[in-house]
Every structure is written in C-alpha cells, then in structure tokens.
Subunit: 388 residues, 2 copies
Amino acid sequence: MRDVYVIGVGMTKFGNFPTWPGVKEMGEEACFNAMKDANVTPKDIEAGYCGVVGGIGRSQGPLAGNLAMKQVGVAGVPITRCENGCASSSTAFREAWIAVAAGLYDVALVLGVEKMAGLPTRMMLKAMSQGSDMEIEGAMGMTFPGVFGMVAMRHMHNYGTTREQLALVSVKNHHNATMNPHAHYPKEVTVEKVLGSPMIAYPLSLLDCCPVSDGAAAAVIASGDVARKYTDTPIKILTAVQKSGTFLDTLDISTFDITVRAAKEAYRAARLEPKDIDLAEVHDCFTIAEILHNEDLGFFKKGEGGKAVEEGETEINGKVTINASGGLLAKGHPVGATGVAQICELVWQLRGEAGARQVDGAEIGLAHCMGNFSHGDGGTCNITILKR
Amino acid sequence: MRDVYVIGVGMTKFGNFPTWPGVKEMGEEACFNAMKDANVTPKDIEAGYCGVVGGIGRSQGPLAGNLAMKQVGVAGVPITRCENGCASSSTAFREAWIAVAAGLYDVALVLGVEKMAGLPTRMMLKAMSQGSDMEIEGAMGMTFPGVFGMVAMRHMHNYGTTREQLALVSVKNHHNATMNPHAHYPKEVTVEKVLGSPMIAYPLSLLDCCPVSDGAAAAVIASGDVARKYTDTPIKILTAVQKSGTFLDTLDISTFDITVRAAKEAYRAARLEPKDIDLAEVHDCFTIAEILHNEDLGFFKKGEGGKAVEEGETEINGKVTINASGGLLAKGHPVGATGVAQICELVWQLRGEAGARQVDGAEIGLAHCMGNFSHGDGGTCNITILKR
C-alpha cells in the first residue's frame, strides 16, 4: 500500500442553523474550503467519500454526499456514503485512505456533514436509538447520556474520579474553543457553572454533554506520488485503524476495550508509543469519555485520567494536548462531521496554523472517534495518526 | 492491486415478514450461509462491510451490520456500513474488494440486508424520498414510479417501444423466479395480467414495478493468495466499477448516461465486450428499466431493447440471459440486499449450481445495480463482472 497524505482541509463554523444552510450548502462550503486549501480543481478529484448519519431532522443521509459535492463540481466519479454513527466520517476518511493507498485513485475528497438542529426531542431520541440495538436498548430507552452516566459512576467508584474532575474537562475544552473560530460554543465556563447546569443523567449535567450541532468538514487526500504537486506541506497519514465492538465482552465499563484494541494496533502500525503523540482529538461526547479514553489510549495510567486533567496535563502544551479544538463538548458535534473535523484540527496544528490554540512544535497528532454503542461496548472506533 | 475472488455466497428467501425475522436474524442467516459455503470460520473474517439503507420500517441502518455479523461470531474487526440507496450492498461489495485488493485484508464478509415490510405508505414515501434530492424532488413528490413512468413514455416516444414489450419483461422475470427458491414472487404472470394490474404511474402498472421486500444476502471474498485454501471453485472478480450521476447533463431520459459510463469503464477494465457476457443481473426496478439498461450496457442497440425482449433474446439461454434470478421484479427488492443478491446469483450460475434456471456453460456474468435518482440522473451505478 502506498503512502497517502492530507493535502487540504476545510470546515464550516459549527452551530445551530434551524432553517439554513442545509446539508448541501454546508457540504459545499466545507468541500470548497478543503479543495481551495489543497489547490485542487474538481477534475482532480477521482472519488468522493461522505460520512453522514442522516435521518436526523433535515439531515439527508442517502445522496447527501452526491448533492453536496455536486455543488463544487465533483460529479460522475464514485461517491460512497459511509455510516458508522458518530464515527461516520472517520470511517469515510479511512475508506478513502484505503482506496488511495491501494492505487485505485490518486486524489480523493472526504466530506463529513450533519444537520441536526430543530428536531423535536422525541424524534431525536428515535433517530439516536438506531446507534444502539434498536430492538433491545432502543426499546428500553437506553440513551447515550444514560450509558455514560453509568460509565462515570463506575469510573468514580473504581478510581475515585471526582465530579469536579469531570467538570474540569468541560472547562478546559470550552476554554480551547474560545480560540477556535469554527466552534459552536466559544465561551468560558467554570466548574461551578458546569456543576450547576441542569442534571441530564447523574452525575452528568448539561455542560458535561456535547451539544447537538450542525456543520461540515472536508479533507482532500492524495498519494505520495502526487501530493507535492499540490502542496508544500503534505501531512502524512501514518495509519488509520478501525475496530468494532465485541459485545458483552466488556465486563468493566470504566474501560472501553474497543479503544484499547484500536490504540494498540495504531501504535504498532505507526511504530510509535503514546508518549510520542503531541496532541490528540479525543471523542469527548461526555466529560467522562475524555478521561476514560485518555487512559485507554495510553496517555495516562488507568484511573489517573481525572487527576491528569486536574493537574493541567491535558491543556494546550501540557504533557499531551487533548482537544485543542474544543472537542465535541465545545467545538460541537454534528455527528457525521466530527471525524473529519478532528482531521482538520490535526492538520492545522501540524502545519502550525492553529493560531492562538497552536500546540508548540506539534509533529504527531492522533484522532480518536467512536460511533454507536451497544451491548456494553462501542460499535466502531477509529484511530488515525498524522505526522508533519 | 491483487486478484480477488468470491469464495462463498448465501441468501435468505426474499419476502414480506412483517414481524419476524428482523435485520439481525436475516443478516445472520445470509452470513451463516455464505460463510458455510466459503468454508470459513468467524476468525478467518478480517473485515465486514454491510450495505443497508435503513430508516425504512423496522430496518435499522446504523449498527445493522455489526448486530447481524455478531450473530455469526464476527466482531471486533472493522465493520463498515455503506449506503448508496438501492446500490448499497454493491457499493459495500466494491469497498470490500478494494480493501482486499489493496492487501489490507485477505478475507472479508459482505452483507446486504433490508427490512421493509409493514411500513405505512406515507412513511415509506418519506423514507424513499431521501433517495432523491429531499429538498427539491422529495418536496415535489417526485417518486421513483413517477420518474420511471416518464422514462417509459420517452422511450416509447423515441423508439416505438410498446406497452406489451414492457409487460413481457415482467412475464419473463416472473417465469425465471418460479425456478428460484429465494424469490419473493415465484409465480407465472401473463401480458394480460400485467396490463390489467392496477395503474401506478402511467404507463407502468403494478406488475411493472418491483415489490417491497425483506431479505438479506452475503458474500465472502478472498485474495488470490488464500482463496484456494477455502474452495476449489473461486469466482474471480474481474472488475467492480462505480459512477455517480452528473446531474442535469442527461437531456434525454431514455438513456442513463451513468450506466453508459460505468459499462464503458467496466468492459475496458475487464478487457471484454458486451458480447462476451453470458448472463447479467440488471437493475429492473421497473420493466422499462431493464429494457433501457440492456441497451445502455451494450447488449442491444439503442431503441432495440423492447424488440429483444419480444424475440426472447433475454430469456435464459437467449443471446444474453437477463435476470435469471427473477430480478428485482420477481425475486424481490429488499433495497440494501439487492446488490449482493445479484452477486449470489452470478456465483451460483458461474459454478453451475443454479438448478432449473442454469444458463448453459456460463463463464462470465455481469451485475448492474443502481441507487438513488436525482436531477435527471442516477445517484450511483455499480457494475461488477465475475468470471468462472
């Protein structure tokens, strides 16, 4: 398999746009920005991959990629929708990487997009219930906040993680978001404000949970043979690993076996260790998730993720910068867009273009994205490692 | 890219099963049958790809592949949902082919599945509207029967295709289905019965339209390096080509430019001509579609597709056997399952295991699958060519 590089990225601002723009217009903006950044024209694009969950509010799943890409003149070529819940566009990114690495295409466009705003809660719950086993967990009302509330309780029980440590994740990520022009909630919050926000699923309150967002993100990738034709700053894809859950094998919900397995394979493939990672975008759908995944990714010993946040080790230029973008918690979480939005942040950081939130001397970045959750384990976990 | 082979296939019977089995159980049956046919165990499977549209009745899109594959012990490995409307599982098959050809995996499992029965018409129309531009064509009520009614009218106007010729496609495919134990409607129909069935969208009546079906189909593919370890009759994938629509470029709806472009590339890649194809499974969502696609695939001159049916050239052991399985019209059309179900039929035929509907001496088979339709052109067209 050939070397593959990210040669351009682009995003929309994340936010809530109940009426406009829609999937097509947001997709258009992200694709246009990425293609401009990559210095490619529509005729350079040999394939398109789109990550979108769809079926949520005005979010069209089928054809969303085709409709959005057509807006920027990309049509006729193979366009494939990949859907793996919140990991949809990290999956799409990986499939594009496989196809370019295989030699089938030299240049491919990857889009992640979602339009979630304005959906009544009842319909949102129904749509989201398909991210677990609809016939069992869906019917039982086993929502994601419910799952992660239990995860938090177990982590606190096992390791003495505190409610304040959870809140500090939200404080850090909201602070980072104030420096990110694409963020949905670029506002400082305090521990008191997090603790005082409405309770969602004990011990998680509103500001422990990522918001429902609209947005799009895109990336152009190219084979090593042609990457430098387009850019002087190609960012190398060291590996893109994907795992699915094993179901019922996870007896201890304070660790996600799926992340442990994916990380192990990713580090081996990239010939790296956790200590080599300068910054990571981690799937912080809830505050507890960031703490738990930081441990499972090997950045901290099991049980020490809460303490690490408290001691500032995950802040920008800490031991390992986690979610410099603001993460899902504050940058926002338009589900289908999140995977590629993580790639955008890594690329900007590795090119030294992240402005006020720049991680000094960033050379290696890791993106961790998860989708769905069923029978006690994650549905999908994608880990992508990029190098300057 | 390496040579890749289909080493096993399996299906459920297609039909309407309003309460049971669901996506998980149907997926399980198809996967089990394909894995048994391929002589593989769950631990041999290195990746799973699932084509499912979802959001239709009890059809779960997200996680459907994971849930179904877990039933046969396939878990932990990367499992990716691909969705391209009615071409979802032909897209999944192609992505699996790319990944195995790339050298990333040696053995992969591909599943197509859909559960459509029992959905109220209003909700079905809403679900299906996402297969076109939801904001424009969906809002206008531009349904697929409406589109293909117009296509039929244009074809009749341009080429003198007759209403009876359309009906004969349905007669032929229903006849073929009587010899297929997996078919949804294994019943003979006559031209009179087709013409007398309720009008849906002029000139198409009920028996000109494919049914709403439930079902699943699966295939196991393997690299040339390992295929013969599992089977003595590997079927070679000569090529798998995918195109998307160019939108608004099709001024004449009596031809589908997307099929013409995909076919041209497929024949070039496989170093074949249309006359080399012994049998084809063609996307006959409506009777007119088979006639039109047979022309666009190069089996007959433009405008002569109707006459070819009338003269028996598309019957089993005719000039080119079209839809020996009964096709979408009579085998049924559980949308996500159709692409892989076409592969199943080709594999059985090429191995000489198709029983009463066997095409004599079949050596090369072609599958043509389309998904979505927007702005005057198809959303996705997949063409796969297999060789004994």
